[in-house]
């Protein structure tokens, strides 16, 4: 089995783009990814593609993968659509790495896209709702934010987490996103703003929720041999972990943790032979503020119930010991469902190569964490700078 490396990664701006289509957004991401490859890169070297999308709006539910790969000239290669709700492209990346490691492809493409802002809010609600457990959770009247709000209520009750803690997630991620030209909501917000926002699903307010966003992202994965031919500074895929979980929150043993994340993280750390304390920078799935706090605990950054302290003490600030969501996260950068997973990997790729907008101090290991639905699926990927941290 060969090692797999990321040799290129890029994304379109995330935001609302009424003049773009899902194909043109994917094209932008694809062009950015190929442009980021150090050597002259001929897209024809891509042997296989995996594309994540939920297909919001129903614009191309069938054959969604080929619909974008043909658009960028990747004619005739095997292309697979990956649908795992918000973890679609985290899983697409997993498939691309698996393909390379197995020797099926020397170069594989993983990417994703979503267009979410061009339908009415009723229609969007329908599409957001389809990733929750339908028969019981949705038909008790719960929205997607409602499910995370239930998680927040349980976390607050069990650990004393406060709405102020939730608001701090927004403040931090908006501060980071304000430095990211690709962010959807690239403005800063004060703690007062984040506390005073209108309620969406109690205890979550508007600032505790990510936006609906248009965007695309793409990552180029290469085998060890090809990687160093294409790149001076490729990023090694050090560990992969993925897990499924009960689709409905109500079916799980715990409402204050996402077990799928825990299992995925354990697998990734095992393969990389490192622990949480070795991680230098992380992009975690913060679709709602409570999700980022729960992720700190599930990824082992702190013990259960201590995420708010970690945040309050600035550990996850860009200049802290373990910066989290330097891109702005889903909260500020945006959450175009299918594009999110490979978008997170794009940030980690840039961080490890020293090219990020909010660059942290010479990181060696980076982590990307992508969750589908409220935890029905999750991926955790660990990346290492190819030179092992020497720069």
């Amino acid at each position: 089995m060969t090692e797999a490396y990321v040799v290129g990664a890029g994304q379109s701006p995330f935001g609302s783009f009424p003049d773009e289509s899902y194909r043109s957004l994917f094209e932008t991401a694809f062009d950015c990814a190929t442009a980021s490859v150090d050597a002259e890169f001929d897209p024809k070297r891509i042997d296989e593609a995996f594309v994540g999308t939920l297909g919001v709006g129903g614009r191309q539910l069938g054959l969604s993968g080929p619909a974008v790969t043909e658009h960028v000239g990747l004619h005739g290669i095997p292309t697979t659509r990956v649908e795992n709700a918000c973890a679609a492209s985290g899983y697409a990346f997993r498939s691309a790495v698996a393909s390379v490691r197995a020797g099926l492809a020397d170069v594989a493409l993983a990417g994703g896209y979503e267009v979410m802002t061009d339908t009415s809010s009723d229609h969007t609600k329908w599409w957001l709702g389809v990733s929750g457990e339908t028969e019981w959770e949705r038909l008790s009247g719960t929205t997607f934010s409602g499910v995370y709000a239930q998680m927040a209520s349980a976390h607050m009750n069990e650990y004393g987490t406060t709405t102020e803690d939730l608001s701090r997630v927004a403040v931090k991620n908006h501060a980071n996103g304000a430095r990211n030209p690709n962010a959807h909501l690239g403005f800063e917000c004060s703690l007062e703003d984040a506390m005073a926002a209108p309620t969406v699903a109690d205890p979550l307010n508007l600032y505790h929720c990510c936006p609906t966003t248009d965007g695309a992202s793409a990552v180029i994965v290469a085998s060890e041999e090809v990687a160093f031919e294409l790149s001076d500074d490729p990023v090694r895929v050090a560990g992969m972990g993925a897990s499924s979980g009960h689709v409905g929150l109500f079916q799980r043993d715990t409402f204050t943790s996402i077990p799928a994340t825990r299992r995925a993280a354990e697998a990734a750390y095992d393969e990389a032979e490192i622990g949480p304390s070795d991680v230098d920078v992380a992009e975690v799935h913060d679709c709602f503020a409570i999700a980022e706090l729960v992720a700190y605990e599930d990824l082992g950054f702190c013990a259960a119930g201590e995420s708010a302290t970690l945040l309050r003490e600035g550990v996850t600030d860009p200049d802290g010991e373990l910066p989290v969501n330097t891109s702005g996260g889903l909260k500020s950068k945006g959450h175009p469902i299918g594009a999110t997973g490979t978008g997170q990997i794009t940030e980690i790729f840039e961080q490890l190569r020293g090219e990020a907008h909010t660059q942290v101090d010479s990181p060696r290991y980076g982590l990307a964490h992508n969750v589908g639905g409220s935890g029905g699926g999750a991926t955790v990927h660990l990346f290492e700078r190819a030179d092992g941290g020497e720069r």
Partner: protein, 478 residues
């Protein structure tokens, strides 16, 4: 012959005072009604029937599995064409062999349902439930809602001594045109009053005429529940008889409930039975537009808890009333909804109504819903069916605010406002599972993690015009 062994009642939690309605319209047409009940957006004749029947079953000593007949009376079935009693059978967990009878078309339905229950061979449940509506400017003023359920067995404490009817074509006194859900009247006051009085008098006199071998003196009854669209009608309708004023007072509840249609006299009967002594005689006279009147004479007492039900409640303003009852606009939501097909829904009825879960024969853990692999040991097993406790603890909760509801719940939210959805932990035999469910009968934001709640059957949502029902959870009153 069956006797009444237990009585249960159900009243909506929401109430509106006459003054609120009079303020809105400058007048009020429900004589003697001071306050009335208001069916909320998730309440209808079926949910009220379920609640009253559950209460009667709890108060009685007959297991649901032993009920052989269920008779339901209502003038407001949720659908124009569709048998409604089987929904009640499902919700109550009665056996599929239960004989069902539905009586509708007029407020006389309550008498017809009782008749069939008394004549039944075996334990019977008789439920009268109604939630009439009318033009808010006019006929709607007195309309309330409620349900009364009677559990009938051979050994009940209340005996029916006799029954007699006066039948005539009396069309147009109170009617609902095809295709509308609003009741209307001819509004020929004198004619209507005379017709009702003549029918009521005739039925009562037939009873007194000993047709059924009954020794009956109307001046000697201790309680009387007489047709009560408003509080004056019972004495007006019995003007030709000599029923004592105190007896009529025992069985007149319209002043606090409003005109509950086919459930009006049955609720009055429940009140009269509550107030009775063991030897007391109670007269019931039902009247129904289009059909005439039926009089019944009872002896004995039985508790229904109506007083406690009347004392509860929470006041609404008139604008809230209009919204809650769906008078203000309708919702046409674009974008469809999460489609759970009817066959799929049908398979979940036992879980929705009866909180049926599965116990794993290998690891003993519970799984809900009881399908697929065991939620704990993940083995694919044949679950043992168990019914979860109907009270449980809130483990997580959120409020879905105005405009934030999924499309299926947009109509409810428009009518009822913000609602809470909780994860409720329910137990059986030392094991527990958690269900997602709406909270009801409570203001949003007042139930927290750790609070105790109880299951009630309510309307969840409609799909293609057909209501779907299931469990919601209400707070437990201290």
């Amino acid at each position: 012959m069956n006797r009444i062994a237990a009585v249960g009642v159900a009243l909506p939690r929401l109430r509106i005072s006459t003054a609120e309605i009079a303020d809105a319209w400058g007048r009020y047409s429900g004589a003697g009604i001071e306050e009335k009940t208001v069916a909320a957006a998730d309440e209808d004749a079926l949910t009220l029937a379920v609640e009253a029947a559950e209460s009667a079953l709890t108060r009685g000593s007959v297991a649901a599995a032993d009920i052989s007949v269920i008779s339901l009376a209502t003038t407001t079935p949720p659908l124009d064409t569709e048998e409604i009693a089987p929904r009640l059978v499902r919700a109550l967990g009665l056996p599929p062999s239960t004989t069902t009878r539905t009586f509708t078309q007029s407020t006389l339905a309550g008498a017809q349902a009782l008749d069939s229950g008394f004549d039944a061979d075996g334990p019977a449940l008789v439920v009268a439930a109604d939630a009439p509506r009318g033009d808010p400017a006019d006929a709607d003023h007195p309309f309330g809602a409620g349900a009364a359920a009677f559990l009938l067995t051979e050994s009940g404490s209340v005996e029916r001594l006799g029954s007699a009817s006066h039948v005539d074509e009396l069309a147009g006194i109170s009617y609902r045109e095809r295709g509308t859900d609003e009741l209307r009247g001819l509004d020929i006051t004198g004619y209507e009053r005379n017709t009702i009085r003549e029918s009521v008098t005739s039925a009562a006199e037939r009873l007194a005429g000993n047709v059924n071998g009954v020794d009956f003196d109307d001046a000697a009854v201790d309680g009387a529940a007489v047709f009560q669209p408003d509080a004056r009608m019972p004495s007006r309708a019995t003007g030709n008889l000599s029923i004592p004023r105190e007896a009529l007072a025992r069985g007149t509840v319209v002043g606090r409930i409003g005109d509950a249609g086919a459930a009006g006299v049955p609720l009055g009967l429940a009140a009269a039975f509550d107030a009775a002594d063991d030897e007391d005689r109670t007269l019931a006279v039902f009247f129904g537009s289009g059909g005439g009147a039926t009089a019944m004479l009872f002896e004995g007492r039985v508790e229904s808890g109506l007083d406690a039900a009347l004392d509860g409640g929470s006041a609404v303003t008139y604008p809230q009333y209009l919204r809650e009852r769906g008078y203000v606009g309708t919702v046409d939501v674009a974008g469809g909804g999460a489609h759970v097909s009817l066959p799929t829904w049908q398979r979940s009825l036992d879980q929705r109504y009866r909180l049926a879960a599965g116990r794993c024969p290998k690891c003993e853990a519970l799984t809900f819903p009881p399908e697929g692999a065991c939620g704990t040991c993940h083995r694919r097993v044949e679950f043992e069916r168990v019914e979860l406790s109907r009270t449980g603890l809130v483990r997580a909760v959120t409020a879905i605010g105005y405009g934030g509801a999924p499309p299926e719940f947009a109509e409810q939210q428009r009518r009822d406002g913000a609602y809470d959805v909780a994860l409720v932990e329910l137990e059986h035999g030392g094991e527990s599972v958690t269900l997602p469910a709406q909270l009801t009968d409570v203001d949003s934001g007042t139930v927290g993690v750790g609070d105790e709640v109880r299951a009630v059957v309510r309307k969840l949502y409609e799909q293609e015009g057909v209501p779907r029902y299931g469990a919601k959870f209400a707070p437990i009153e201290e």
